[in-house]
Amino acid sequence: MDLNFTPEEDAFRAEVRSFLKDNLSEELATKVRNGEELGKADIESWHATLQSRNWLAATWPVEYGGPGWNAVQRHIFDEECCLANAPRIVPFGLGMLGPVLIKFGTEKQKADILPRILDGSDWWCQGYSEPGAGSDLASLKTRAIREGDDYIINGQKTWTTLGQYADKIFCLVRTSTEGKRQEGISFVLVDIKTPGIEVRPIKLIEGGYEVNEVFFSDVRVPVSNLVGVENEGWTIAKFLLTHERTGIAGVGASTQALHELKALARKLKRRGKPLIEDPLFAARIAEAEIDLEALRMTNLRVLVDASGGAASNTIASMLKIKGTVIRQNLDDLARRALGPAAAPFPMEALAGNLAVAPPEAAASAASYFNNRKLSIFGGSNEIQRNIIAKDIFGA
């Protein structure tokens, strides 16, 4: 047992911190801290900054242009980025498609696509969920029918995050209706400008716009855009589900949220005293901090394990459940710290010369509502419980 980071790891942390200090603008960090919506340009410029140091594709091997980090390094990098209020890396190209191509893609696909992900030429989005197939992904219905050297795709995808900025979309589509539901699914790459595709925004509960519906009407895609083997896309879907799930706990982001919460509770006053001196509120912060401390250690246990082998699905599902519960609790506390001042829409709370809330907290209710998604998207916490139960009861 040794809970200390190695000197090399400490040095790496210092290097990351110093890079962030020099390269992350105050303006961008403030936007992130305040929970403001980032524009496409914000994200692209941050990706480019990281790529200038070769740190953009954290999970990619060196030969494909990644930094070749192990799980502990990725964890340190993530933690430092969160603490510095750096924008999150948009994962669809970098964290999902990249690893899929590296494992399942042809040499040509890798050569054509990976560099364009790294240099920002292509913004990828994900076409997985469908209106009737959220957590039950295998029931997807979008059809791709072979016609010569093309597939003709018809159907609908939904919850496509940041699809409004995307150049390309990778999709799970049904290429066969025979066999079990998991069979007959294929993984296909599609240019979003192909005729027949329509992207429609979905406004979320808090009023923001980050997800979309994507409609396919007779969309023609060359068969060469198939990744892996036809009808065996489920293998890729499962690979993605279990790939790099150690970041799933969101420890870095929650740590930063806890910092912000404590700062807020020191700043705001209730009954003439700082909120942090209110025993009931302080007790809830303390419990959140304790839960997060335990989660950090659970996450490290998995990470260090995963540096050698692969994290078990069960523990990854546990990290997902507990990580989202903790994050949602922190969001709840931040919202409640503000009291009624959390109610106005963020932009309205700050408008005029009668601002209702401190800028760094004005979006707290919006964040709270938006982050209810954490326990729903990416396999709901109910699905995660089913996965764990299967493991426990062997059923």
Binding site: L204, G339, P340, G352
Partner: protein, 359 residues
């Protein structure tokens, strides 16, 4: 003991339910609740005609109701449709005008020809009146107010504001000002409906009472009761929506309502909703008794807990669809969550209970 509504109340409640169902279908509500003026100003007169405002004060004060149960039936219906009309501010203002014998104003508000709002809380005095910093200054017969009031519900749609301010004697007085004399910044709330920040820079005011602290507390408690009843109405509807969704939504080849884990969670919601209904009845019965403060604090604490549970579980059990603006359920969930923050949240109310318990 008897838990049936009187015929009069049942009539008001029935006609209000029909009216709101007809005039505020949820798509319409979503459209008006978030854009200025954050409600449907044309409808106010119709609500007044239905007798809704008159129901909120007693007969000897010019109305024809005024008991806790009258307040509860009106706001429960508002909760069922998420009606964004600024009724909360008018309820509290109306009761204060009535308490201080301003019968002209009472009549005008009941008739729907005037609207008011109560400006009490401030950025550092969100939960009680002890930290109020807004000051009232007297010069001869004239009073002026200076300071800043925050989260004035209905302040965006009021003709007059009733302002709680500290008098030179250190008491909390109640003052009336013309809304247009103040610097008013109106905004929509994330759960719909409007409120306002009110800047006061030597605004000329009429003094209704130089020592109104306890009367203001009673009006706030009437407001808290109203919020409890509104929450009960919203919870009932959201629970039904969730049940319907679970029965209709298919996953793994069967309705997700057949999954026992979800069934038991909906059962737990249902139990908390019954508890919420009960504690609201308890508070409604106590609002004009010496037990008012304790009963209302208890109710709003439980409502805060139940509302959060119902909102979060409803969204979670709906999955993605519950996260969308287009789906009415998300607006019910927001309202239920944010009701807690109005007029003192569950922990503020718990603190009141603790204080009253140990006293």
């Amino acid at each position: 003991m008897n838990f049936n509504q009187t015929d009069d109340r049942r009539m008001i409640s029935d006609s209000l339910r029909r009216y709101l169902a007809d005039q505020y279908p949820v798509e319409h509500r979503i459209k008006i609740a978030y854009d200025a003026p954050f409600h449907d100003a044309k409808k106010w007169g119709e609500l007044a005609e239905l007798g809704i405002l008159g129901a909120l004060v007693s007969e000897d004060q010019g109305g024809f109701g005024g008991e806790g149960f009258d307040i509860a039936i009106v706001f429960e219906e508002f909760g069922r449709t998420l009606c964004p009309e600024p009724m909360l501010g008018n309820l509290m203002g109306l009761r204060l005008y009535a308490a201080f014998g301003q019968s002209d104003k009472v009549d005008a508000i009941i008739a729907g020809t005037a609207r008011t709002a109560l400006a009490v809380f401030e950025a550092e005095a969100f939960t009680d009146t002890s930290e109020i910093a807004t000051s009232a200054t007297q010069s001869g017969e004239n009073w002026t107010l200076s300071g800043r009031k925050s989260l004035v519900y209905g302040g965006h749609a009021a003709d007059t504001l009733l302002v709680a301010a500290r008098t030179p004697a250190g008491k909390i007085g109640l003052f009336e000002i013309e809304a247009k004399a103040a610097d008013i910044h109106s905004y929509a709330m994330i759960d719909g409906g409007g409120a306002a920040e009110v800047g006061l820079d030597n605004v000329s005011a009429k003094c209704l009472s130089g020592d109104a602290g306890e009367t203001i507390e009673a009006a706030l408690d009437a407001g808290r009761l109203a919020l409890c009843a509104e929450a009960v109405g919203a919870m009932d509807v959201l629970k039904e929506m969730t049940k319907d969704y679970l029965m209709q939504r298919q996953q793994f080849g069967r309705p997700i309502a057949t999954f026992q884990a979800l069934q038991h969670r909906l059962v737990d919601l249902s139990i908390e909703i019954e508890q919420a209904r009960s504690i609201t009845i308890h508070a409604a019965g106590a609002v004009d008794t010496p037990g008012r403060a304790l009963a209302v604090a208890k109710a709003k604490n439980l409502i805060g807990r139940a509302g959060k549970l119902v909102a979060e579980e409803a969204v979670q059990m709906h999955g993605g669809i519950g996260m969308t603006w287009e789906y009415a359920g998300s607006h019910y969930a927001k309202r239920l969550t944010m009701i807690d923050a109005q007029l003192g949240d569950k922990e503020d109310q718990l603190r009141r209970v603790m204080e009253l318990m140990s006293a």
